[in-house]
Structures are given as C-alpha cells and as structure tokens.
Amino acid sequence: MDKVVIVGSGASGVHFALSVLQKGYDVLMLDVGRAGTEPVNGQNTFLDLKTKLKDPAAYFLGEDFAGVVNPDFKAEYYGIPPSKSYVFSDVDGARAETNGFSPLLSFAQGGLAQAWTGGVYPFNDDELEQFPLRYKDIEPYYNEVAKRIGIAGIEDDLSRFMPVHDNLMDPLRLDEHSVLLLSEYERQRAFLNDKLRCYFGRSRVATLTKEMNGRDKCSYLGRCLWGCPSGAFYTPSITLNDCAKFPNFRYLSDFHVHHFKYNSKRRITSVVAESLPTKTAHEFPVVKLVLAAGTLSSSKIFLTSIFEDSGATVKLTGLMDNRQVLIPFVNLKMIGRRYDAETYQYHQVAFGMEGDTPSAYLHGLVTTLKTALVHPIIQNIPLDLKASIALFRNLRAALGLVNLNFSDTRRQDNVLTLETADHGRKPTLRIHYSPTFHEPARIQEAIRKVKQAFWRLKCVVPPGMIHVRPMGASVHYAGTIPMSRTPAPYTTSEVCQSHDFENLYLVDGTTFPFLPAKNITFTLMANAVRVAECAF
C-alpha cells in the first residue's frame, strides 16, 4: 500500500492514522512531539497528594513556581498545571505576529487536546448546514470514535441540540453541587425552556465509566486537571499508543515540518522538516500528504510551501474561533457546605440556549469548583486576602463557573498570511482577526440571559467578575481552507482533498466552513476518520 505521511499527532491526526493503519497503509507521522511525564502516585486522591508527595508544592506549582497565578496576571481564573505545561511549550520560529488574536499552539504528542476538558458534542444538521455533508454522513464516524475513546453521556433535554449516537457509556457520578443544579432545573424547566429557550442536561465527556481496552474506569480521585492517573480520561496520546502497535506505523518526533515541495503539476513530492536537535533540514518523499497539525500550523505549512516555491505571499481568509465568556456564580443552596474532593473535576452539567439560527445557539459548560487551585480565585475577591480567605472557605463548595461558547462564521477580513520581510529569518505567521460589529451586543444579551437562567437555579453571578476571554483562548481554530462542493483555490473537496494540490488532505479544523458554539474536538476526530474511510 502507499505510504501516507501525516503531519501532527493531535486529535485528528491520530484518529486518521489509526483508520488508515487498519486499512493496511504504511504511515509515517512527523511531529515535534513534546512528551509529558507519567502521573505520580496513581492511587492517591488530590488531597492525598498534598500529604504524601515529598514536594507537593513542586507538583502543584511547578519546580519554577510557574503555576502561581500572580496578581498582575489578570487573564484567567486558573493557570496551566505544571504537569500540562509541556502541551504549550514553544518551538523556535513558531511564534505568530498577531492582531486581535491570542493564539495557543501546541507541539505536544497528542496536541492541544492533551490539555482539553473532554467535552464531546456531535454537530447536528443545523450546524452542518454549511458543510457539504449531513449528520447521517458523519454519524458512523461519531459512533466509531465513541467506541475508540469512550464517552459517558445520557439522553436528556440537551439531546435536542446534540444527536444521541451509539456507544455512549453510563454517565459519571455527579457531585453534590451538580445534583442540586439539575434538580433545581427540573423544578424550573417550564420557565427556562419556554421563556429563555434554555435547556440543561448532562455533559458528554470522554471519560470511562467502565473499563475499556486496558484503561480503568474513572475512580474519582479529583485529579483530572493534573493528569488522570487511571487513563479513564481520554487524551489523543492514548490513540497514538494504539497506532504504535501497528508494524506499518513509524513515528518520528523532534521534527518540525516547515513546508512541502511540489512539481509543475502541483503534485507534492516531498515534505521538508527541521530536526530540532541538530537544526538540520530533512526531506521526506511523499505519495500522499495529510496535514493534521492544527489549523494555524497546517495553514502556515500550506502558505510557506507556496512562498518557498513561487515567492508568492498568499492570504487564507475565514479564520474562526469560539468566543468564550467565563461567568462565575455562587449557588446559594451550597453556601457553608464542605466541598467533595473525590469527584470528577471537569464539567458535568451543560446547557444550550436556542437561537433563531444555528449561529445564534449558545453552548455553556458548567464546572462546579472542586479541586482546582484556589489562590487565583481568592485574590479576585474584592477584599484583603485574609478576609477573602475567610469568605472563600464558606463559599468554596457553592462556587461554579460557566464557560459560555459562541459560534463563529468565516469572514474575509480574518486572515492568515506570512510575514516574509525579514529575509534573514524564516517566514512567520501573521494573524489578523476582528470580531463582528454586533459582537458586544450579542455578548451582553447572552450574559443577561445566562444570569437570568442561573438566578432561577438559585445562583447569583457576583458583580464585576465576568471575563470575556480574548479571541484565540478557546483554541478551537478553524476555517482557513474550507470544504467546498465547487472547486476553488484554497478550498478542499468534501473529503478534505485539497483543490490546489491533488495529493494533499487536510484533516484538522482547517476545512470547517462554520464553527458551531460546541467544542469541535469530537467532530475533528470523526471527520478525520470519515476522510480516512471515504478517500483512502
């Protein structure tokens, strides 16, 4: 069989690889491949670690204290745990020049989803309207991915927004706070559904509630954020390990792919990558090339290849990302209770707010505060730290955070291009993004509705603590080389085959013509499997 060269080991790359390996293709995967460390003390709970580790502060804050969220760092309510910092570690020359966008790139084995929160939500027909496919076309691949990764979920009110696919496991055990939220929703359902068009239900999460393929089920150690020690929580490195079991799979890490070369018939002949340890360029012959490096990196490789061949600096338009708004809340019924550290740590409750169009749908993830580090929250309380601690102790179990996601559409003024002026250096990626004129009003209206919905659930939103995250923070980038039914430059076919280079396939978010408010990772994986099955 032909050799397939895949660039990147993120969520889409590994699932594409596994599918073509099963079909008998020889696969070479090129990756920078920064690796994490094995979880420590596998049986210990979050609280046990504070007692039993020799140097717990090094574990929770990092050897260099990089996990301390300083008061001058106003951006977030949480920092990246030291055990996940490798996910965002940089590579020389990869930094982008940006305007209106704060990108996060990953060069980790498994990509950005090594640090995701596990939300898996299939797109419905409304959301696939601008895609050249319907839900029934991608459903078999959602089923397949669900079988591979393990998804806990249930049919409930949220199913109106996300179809129920096969291979769902029983849902996770709820924490006390989430139980209260859902039981209050039962009482307020009529108002919330009819007046606010707001529907609550269980999050669907890529976490096992029964053993699967040598992975243990969730044991509720409260360590999700710090790195699941049981393997119950899915990350793409698990699938990368599955790929490594195939004799026809070759994985080369420490290679940063720079560009591909093509002939006069625009057929790709090789890919050029820099060996990071030796700083030397290596060329790998290509029969079929699959870019799965993530929208920004894949686009950069695409742009650089054209630049290296012709000197032309082209523009890719239509960059998308989900705007996210963080809305903290206090559940009045939980005040004064003790928090339970031995629970699943990420979101267990989600909600959808219906709009008149697919782009008006809002998707919210509700995380109740359990085992995250709390110093970033305490310092945001508008009192001195001693008083803030006293207040926080009694509020801790009552605190939660809504992560409200907005959809995005492709627009011509959101552009990726190359900065090539400095001839002594490699081209750098330049990103320009501006939101729509109506976005501020849209955000304000959404916040008003969320506050109203949570008030009904006996929760209040403290004034002055809502945080509109910068564009780029969601890391759901998409749309620069979209799928299109009609061939046009810088687009792909419905099976993600480039219309510019016949032996090039793009299987990451690059090809999405619309970005719904839901987390895209599940669809990235399913779409990659679809391409592998339909085009290879």
Binding site: F65, V68, N70, G336, Q379, L383, I389, F392
Partner: protein
C-alpha cells in the same frame, strides 16, 4: 526594578508574619523553604514589576500581621499587582498546595446562612475601616517615598 536580594532570615521572618496574617498559624519548615526557593527562582522573581515604594511597603508589611493587613488592604484597592500582594499570593499558593496548611483553606465555619452573612458583613466593614487607615497612613508615605526617589533621580548627574 528588581527586589534587592533578601537573606534567608529576613525571608523566614517575612514568611512567618505573612503566614500568621493569612491563616493565623506559624509556617512549618517546608513552607519557609518553598518561600525562600521561590524568591530565588528566576521565573517567579522576574515576573511582575516593582518600584522603590514597593520595597518600602514590603518592609512595613513585614513588621506584623496587622501592618500586613494594612498594606494588603491598600494594595487591593489601589495597586493589586504590587510586590507585597505578589508575595502574599505566592505564600497562599504554597499554603494551599501542602499539608497541613491546606486544611485551613478547605474548612468551613458554619452552615448557617445568617451567621455567614453576619461574618461577611463584619469582614466588609473591617475592610472599609482598614481602607481609611491605609489611606491616612500609607498613601502619604508612598507618595513621599516616590517623591523622594524622583527628587533624588533629578539630582543624579547625567552622563553626557
């Protein structure tokens, strides 16, 4: 401006005062060790910004838990990113990361909403009072220190 390097004894004393202020307990050797280690860690020490008045305010805060409260209150209102606050947040991060001090942060005082509301009101009232004290005490001192530095800088001979 970088904070002048502090000797271990000064850092231990500072850690003890700040710890008594934050959780009402003395720090153990582990906490003191981590506090010292952070001050020598390039990434923590480099982050943020401090000026001469910050160093003066750290010295004042180090005197007692009460003076720490005054400076912390002042910082929360006027300059949340100042050096004292950065040190307090660092210590808070260390305290929540290890036993037995994390237990203080994990505890609850009461399940009575009425009692908790009363306590919160008292905390807010005390905070407001401390803001007044801080404005009367610290604002003039800080302005004087800043003015003094500017005055000094203006008298430094320019080279060329």
């Amino acid at each position: 401006m970088k904070e002048p390097t502090l000797d271990s004894r000064t850092l231990d004393r500072e850690c003890a005062v700040f710890c008594r202020y934050l959780i009402g307990e003395e720090p153990n050797d582990y906490v003191k060790g981590k506090y010292r280690e952070a001050h020598r860690s390039p990434s923590w020490a480099r982050s943020g910004h401090s000026d001469p008045s910050d160093h003066f305010l750290v010295k004042f805060a180090r005197m007692s838990p009460w003076s720490t409260k005054v400076i912390d209150t002042y910082a929360r209102v006027f300059r949340p990113a100042m050096l004292v606050r950065k040190k307090l947040v660092l210590l808070l991060a260390i305290l929540e990361s290890c036993a037995p001090t994390h237990a203080y942060l994990d505890a609850v005082d009461s399940r009575s909403l009425f009692l908790l509301s009363l306590r919160s009101l008292r905390a807010c009232f005390t905070f407001a009072l401390m803001v007044v004290v801080a404005v009367v005490l610290i604002l003039p001192l800080e302005l004087a220190v800043r003015g003094g530095v500017k005055f000094f800088v203006s008298w430094v001979p320019h080279n060329g």
